[in-house]
């Protein structure tokens, strides 16, 4: 359960809504520690002075701004803190705008805002009013000594807040034009455009965020898990691009067929208009199939693992590849 990382008050006009801030993302990167190869000792980083190689303690460090090569102006921590934005707990709404007006390039980090104790009503009021108006609030607030611009918008009955980049932090593509285009792009022909449009249309679909996964992380975790179990890892991360899943599916189909036939062998779905049933083969087949059968319930939840077992027995199962794959899935949870 993530805890609130900050609390403050949304203020606009006469309305004040005390809120708590939660990060809306949990970074899923795999983190490594540095170890010495020979004995696995943890490696520590020290700050040392270039002048004499001696360690410098945190308290003795000042910050320097290099205004010319090797020439610095220094600022002490005290001097810096004078410049700190006022320690305010306000999330000050400046404007309400249309979401479409904010280019996604401005968005930085997403947060959720929850009502602080006693502020539930005001929170719900603000959320619903913004939802009704279909507007996004642009606000300023200070988090960790840094002034932030943020966009607050309702997502269902929850307010989200995304910190935003300031305009001067975003590079104008015109400044990069000569880098972006080595040569001047020509004007596309209508025929080409039509084809590209067709291609786009054929790939057009609704965005489903969970369709896209970090496959590198999944296979990395799978490899780590195998190593942790003491198994040799040769090239688990370099699977063939698309190992056939047909043997897996085959085993699953076999099971569900056995279930269908075992449970309701007399209830065969209507066949084509041109009739003629294959009564003779039916009995033979179902007994054959059900020898490897499980109950329907089992095959549903446990189909992955049991199908794997069946598949690995059959000659056509493709080595250990499906195993690696399902491992990756388990590890990602």
């Amino acid at each position: 359960m993530p805890r609130a990382i900050w609390s403050g008050t949304i203020s606009f006009g006469l309305l004040n809504v005390p809120v708590k801030l939660y990060s809306a993302v949990s970074k899923q990167t795999v983190r490594f520690r540095e170890l010495r190869e020979s004995d696995g000792s943890r490696v520590r980083h020290k700050r040392v002075a270039e002048a004499d190689g001696k360690e410098v303690s945190y308290d003795d460090i000042v910050k320097g701004y290099e205004f010319a090569p090797d020439q610095y102006v220094t600022l002490s921590r005290d001097e810096l803190s004078e410049l700190d934005p006022k320690k305010t707990r306000a999330i000050e709404i400046k404007d309400f705008v249309d979401l479409d007006d904010i280019d996604p390039i401005y968005f930085e980090h997403p947060y959720y805002l929850g009502p602080d104790k006693g502020a539930e009503r005001a929170y719900a009021l603000l959320t619903q009013a913004m939802d009704d108006a279909r507007k996004v609030a642009v606000a300023r607030f200070v988090l960790r000594n840094k002034e932030h611009l943020a966009a607050i918008r309702p997502m269902g009955d929850v307010l989200t807040m995304a910190t935003m980049r300031f305009a001067d932090e975003v590079t104008d593509p015109d400044d990069l034009r000569s880098e972006l285009f080595e040569e001047k792009p020509g004007t596309p022909e209508k025929r080409e455009l039509d084809m590209a449009r067709q291609l786009i249309d054929s790939l057009s679909t609704d965005f489903e965020a969970d369709k896209y996964r970090d496959e590198y992380r999944e296979s990395l975790l799978a490899m780590l898990e195998r190593k942790a179990e003491g198994k040799e890892v040769v090239s688990a991360a370099s699977e063939e691009p698309e190992p056939t899943k047909a043997p897996d599916l085959m085993a699953a189909l076999e099971e569900s067929l056995a279930a269908v036939r075992g449970e309701s062998s007399d209830e065969v779905p209507a066949s084509g208009s041109n009739g003629g049933s294959s009564g003779g083969t039916k009995g033979k087949r179902s007994s054959k199939a059900s020898s490897s059968s499980t109950k329907k319930g089992t095959s549903k939840s446990g189909s992955k693992s049991s199908s794997k077992a069946t598949a690995s027995k059959s000659k056509s199962a493709s080595k250990a590849k499906p195993k690696t794959k399902s491992r990756a899935k388990a590890a990602s949870k």
């Binding site: 084809m195 076999e254 269908v260 041109n274 009739g275 294959s278 199939a289 056509s316």
Partner: protein
């Protein structure tokens, strides 16, 4: 459109002429066209008859009349290809005039080339296995799909084997699913009947067995059209048959009952209409895969 060389014999052994090929296609048009409608068409042309030089043609011939419809499809390596679309009798006759004896449409329509409307199996017998062995496998295939609550429809390939079509006509479908599913079904049959079925293309494995060819369920493959003539010794055609016919041929072990030449096909159409009509419209869902990846 000018029809030329009408007297040319395209099937020497049967003495079947180009005029007869054109006549067949003109008369089969009403039942055949719905199965070609909207589908990128690959032509197999036999300018010198079935015994002569032949070639597959995906690109619709450049020198076509301006009323021939085409569909531009993006192919992997070669860029875009304008395929012929065959949607009216005139086009069908024009194709026959080109000696495009065999017509091989895509399992998907040009409007969405990645969405097959059909799951297809090609049952190809390795001698000494024959179409009767294919019938036995087809019956099992049918039973498998019945157990999934799905109907399937058989046709002769017009050559040695049989094809079983499972209509899908489902909005969200892709070759990845149909291909994998068909492969799984082929593996299942192979596992259950190892002496009778192979799922791999390798020719030498096929001897005396039936290849359940699942690989047609691929964007780059085509399957011979229902009612298309085949370039064999005689003008046989890929003919839809009823399961009852198939089973009675199987019981009687009479392969000849499942061999139909142009004239017979036309007579069957008069009698039965188009047995493949359900393939056009019947909407069926594939069973869901075990767990989405």
């Amino acid at each position: 459109m000018r029809l030329t060389n009408l007297d040319k014999v395209l099937y020497p052994e049967a003495g079947f002429t180009k005029a007869e090929v054109i006549d067949y296609y003109a008369r089969v048009a009403d039942v055949m066209l719905p199965h070609l409608k909207g589908r990128p068409l690959t032509l197999k042309r036999y300018p010198d008859g079935v015994e002569g030089f032949n070639f597959y043609e995906k690109r619709c011939p450049e020198h076509r009349p301006d009323w021939i419809k085409t569909a531009t499809v993006l192919a992997d390596r070669v860029g875009e290809i304008d395929f012929c679309l065959c949607e009216d009798k005139a086009t069908l006759v024009w194709l026959a005039q080109l000696a495009a004896i065999e017509l091989h449409p895509s399992l998907a329509k040009a409007s969405n080339v990645d969405r097959p409307t059909i799951l297809a199996f090609d049952l190809d017998p390795g001698p000494p296995a024959d179409i009767i062995d294919c019938c036995r496998i087809a019956v099992r295939l049918r039973k498998l799909f019945e157990d999934f609550g799905m109907q399937s429809f058989p046709k002769t390939s017009g050559s040695k084997g049989l094809q079983v079509y499972v209509p899908l006509n489902a909005p969200k479908m892709g070759y990845e699913r149909t291909g994998t599913f068909a492969h799984a079904i082929a593996l299942l049959l192979e596992k259950q009947y190892p002496d009778e079925v192979v799922s791999k293309m390798t020719k030498k494995l096929r001897k005396g067995k039936v290849l359940v060819d699942w690989s047609q369920n691929n964007r780059h493959k085509t399957t011979v059209a229902v009612y298309s003539l085949r370039a064999k010794q005689h003008p046989t055609a890929s003919t839809p048959i009823g399961w009852d016919e198939l089973e009675s041929a199987l019981r009687a072990k009479k392969p000849d009952r499942l061999r139909f030449e142009a004239g017979q096909v036309l007579k069957r159409i008069e009698k039965h209409g188009d047995l493949f009509t359900p393939v056009l419209k019947l909407r069926q869902r594939l069973p869901e895969p075990p767990a989405p990846a």
